[in-house]
């Protein structure tokens, strides 16, 4: 298991490098002087042509691309992400305020979606062709086909405006940064974000579970005199989870991009709204760097899911 873990973590490195290379080349293709993205525009405004030339020399912007790439990469690793073209503020400090709130949202969205999706799928499979099965499968069609912004608006109308149970948006009450005060603000966005994932996971878990319950080793388990719970959970569900995990890896990026829409509906101050602002302002450096961050987070998360799958399935672990 440790060997597998080490292997997966080592495999992360080339993947991250490839992504960073793509982002770097994308930045090179942008119109305009690269020096405007490298230093703060506040300083840039008062510089003469000669000073700029000197700075280009000092920053290595005249050197071959490959050298520049490594200089850039070193900067990224040190937290030097460059400057926004529209606001002029440095991207690292912009991210510092936004990234945690988005990760919070996506993380809890993932947890809630997993628990509910797996649970509903398990229940539906065990009650195949019953009322509860039909109810869940019908609801899941709605969950998959109706876009999340509709749910967002509907939730705000119903739970926030009509019932007044939960706030309409924002991340925390003014002056209350502690986690407990944030929970109330997170409920609606987390559910909106999770709905389509709950629905997909439910369907997938259901069919995977039905598939596993037809396997011969379930008959073996039954022939040992185990009770239904032992058969369904220990021998059934554990095996049914393995293909579901694979689905989860592919759904992760969708979860991250889903936050963009959800954040703007709930006025949630995360990466999503930052990306939207940057896109409408044509602020490509910000777009590129956020893409880099999102890809990196997704890669790390999918590696975690892979490790989880390996823990479930010895055939992967011992390959």
């Amino acid at each position: 298991m440790l060997k597998y873990l080490a292997k997966r973590i080592l495999q992360l490195i080339p993947k991250l490098l490839v992504i960073s290379l793509i982002i770097f080349l994308g930045l090179q293709l942008l119109p305009g002087d690269p020096i405007t993205r490298t230093i703060s525009p506040e300083i840039y405004k008062y510089m003469t042509e000669a000073q700029m030339e000197q700075l280009r020399e000092a920053l290595g912007l005249n050197k071959p691309l490959i050298v520049q790439y490594f200089t850039w990469l070193k900067g990224i690793l040190r937290g030097d992400l460059g400057y926004s073209q529209s606001s002029g503020s440095d991207i690292a400090s912009m991210l510092k305020g936004r990234l945690p709130s988005t990760i919070e949202l996506a993380f809890f969205g993932l947890i809630v979606a997993n628990i509910l999706g797996l649970l509903f799928g398990y229940i539906a499979a065990l009650n195949k062709n019953s009322f509860i099965d039909y109810l869940f499968t019908t609801l899941s069609v709605i969950g998959i086909s109706v876009p999340e912004f509709f749910f967002g608006i509907a939730f705000i109308m119903f739970f926030a405006l009509k019932l007044k149970w939960l706030p309409t948006g924002g991340r925390m009450a003014a002056g209350h940064p502690e986690f407990s005060s944030r929970i109330k603000y997170m409920v609606l966005p987390v559910f909106c974000l999770g709905i389509s994932l709950i629905a997909t996971l439910m369907r997938f878990t259901r069919s995977s579970m039905l598939d596993v319950l037809n396997k011969d080793y379930i008959k073996t388990a039954r022939s040992k005199g185990l009770n239904e719970t032992e058969i369904n959970v220990k021998h059934g569900f554990r095996n049914a989870l393995i293909p579901v995990m694979t689905l989860l890896v592919f759904r992760l990026p969708i979860l991250v991009s889903g936050t963009v829409v959800i954040e703007s509906i709930f006025n949630y101050p995360g990466m999503g709204s930052m990306v939207l602002d940057a896109l409408s302002a044509g602020d490509m450096p910000v777009v590129m760097i956020t893409t880099l961050v999102i890809s990196a987070v997704t890669l790390v998360a999918s590696t975690l899911v892979d490790v989880l799958t390996a823990m479930l399935d010895p055939r992967i672990r011992l390959e």
Partner: protein
């Protein structure tokens, strides 16, 4: 005295098992009667689809959801204790779960799919043992390793912690036998245990079953379509056709004086050592009818060489001979009368 009373460890009487597939009813087993003698091996033979596997699964109520026992009884006579009619308990009941894996256990056809891929083989054997006997993990492990050694699995201490995908087919079937035998059951039901294995491995597995049976006095129901295996392993034989036992007798009775035309044909279709190489093997003409066919007379009549007009009109009855031989054929009913 006890012994004479309990000569049979299992008596299946008039067992009927039905499958309901979308309003269509299929009689997979329609009135099967046989006895399993204590410490003996009973072979159930027949073509594919004749209901032998369903019969075996009916004993422990391991049928798929659509199948259920419609009628008949499955009497189990434990060595000590009251006889139990297994067909009267639900497939999920506590009573039947106490018997599964402990008193009566089962081995299935394909060892590639009958072991759970995510647990070590040690875990899977220990699971059965600890379900039925109060043992600590270490005690259970000692017992399991002992049995694995007896089953000829090399390095049992290491292999105990390995997963099914690290085992070959023959080794997996040994593990299945270990799961089935770990609680020293009174009855072992083996549903075509060697069909999915190489011929050389087949002989080893059968040999192992034989030696375990001799050591523990386990009674075995061996389901197969292979007459060679029957001849090698069994004491008694039940020949099945279309969900019914058409002939029942000792190995000698079945092989030397087969009475039912189907048994005769079945035996003639197997090559025998020393047979002339240009001698043709006989085949049974036609094919097995669909399981949902409704018959008015003998199910075999259409393919039978000795069929008479009467055979198509009414069901044959069981004819009992003095030596315990039993046949379900109209030809012998007449002999009895005349």
């Amino acid at each position: 005295m006890e012994n004479t009373l309990n000569e049979n460890v299992l008596e299946v009487k008039d067992l009927q098992t039905r499958f309901r597939v979308q309003k269509r009813v299929v009689n997979a087993v329609s009135g099967v009667t046989f006895e399993l003698k204590r410490g003996k091996v009973l072979g159930i033979v027949g073509e594919s689809g004749c209901g032998k596997s369903v019969t075996a699964h009916s004993v422990l109520q391991l049928l798929p959801k659509v199948g259920h026992i419609e009628n008949g009884s499955v009497m189990y006579y434990p060595k000590d204790g009251e006889p139990i009619d297994l067909s009267k308990y639900g497939p999920k009941s506590k009573e039947i779960r106490k018997i599964r894996g402990k008193d009566i256990s089962m081995i299935f056809q394909d060892p590639m799919t009958t072991l759970n891929p995510v647990y070590t083989i040690g875990d899977q054997i220990v699971e059965n043992l600890r379900k039925h006997e109060k043992l600590t993990k270490t005690e259970a492990k000692v017992r399991v390793i002992e049995l694995l050694k007896k089953l000829g699995i090399p390095n049992p201490e290491i292999r105990f912690n390995e997963y099914p995908h690290q085992f070959s087919g023959g080794m997996k079937q040994r593990v299945m036998i270990a799961i089935a035998m770990i609680c020293n059951p009174e009855i072992l039901i083996a549903d075509e245990p060697t069909t999915a294995l190489d011929v050389t491995i087949q002989a080893q597995i059968l040999g192992l079953m034989r030696s375990l049976q001799e050591e523990h006095g386990t009674s075995i129901i061996l389901i197969t379509h292979n007459m060679g295996i029957v001849a090698q392993m069994c004491d008694d034989v039940a020949v099945m056709y279309m969900g019914r036992v058409v002939e029942f007798g000792t190995l000698k009775q079945i092989f030397t004086e087969p009475k039912h035309p189907y048994t005769t044909a079945l035996l003639r279709s197997v090559p025998v050592l020393g047979m002339d190489s240009d001698e043709d093997l006989e085949t049974i003409e036609g094919s097995t009818p669909d399981a949902s066919t409704v018959f008015k007379g003998c199910e075999f009549a259409e393919r039978c060489k000795e069929a008479r007009p009467e055979c198509f009109k009414r069901f044959p009855k069981d004819t009992f001979f003095e030596d315990g031989h039993r046949v379900r054929c109209i030809l012998y009913e007449e002999n009895e009368n005349g």
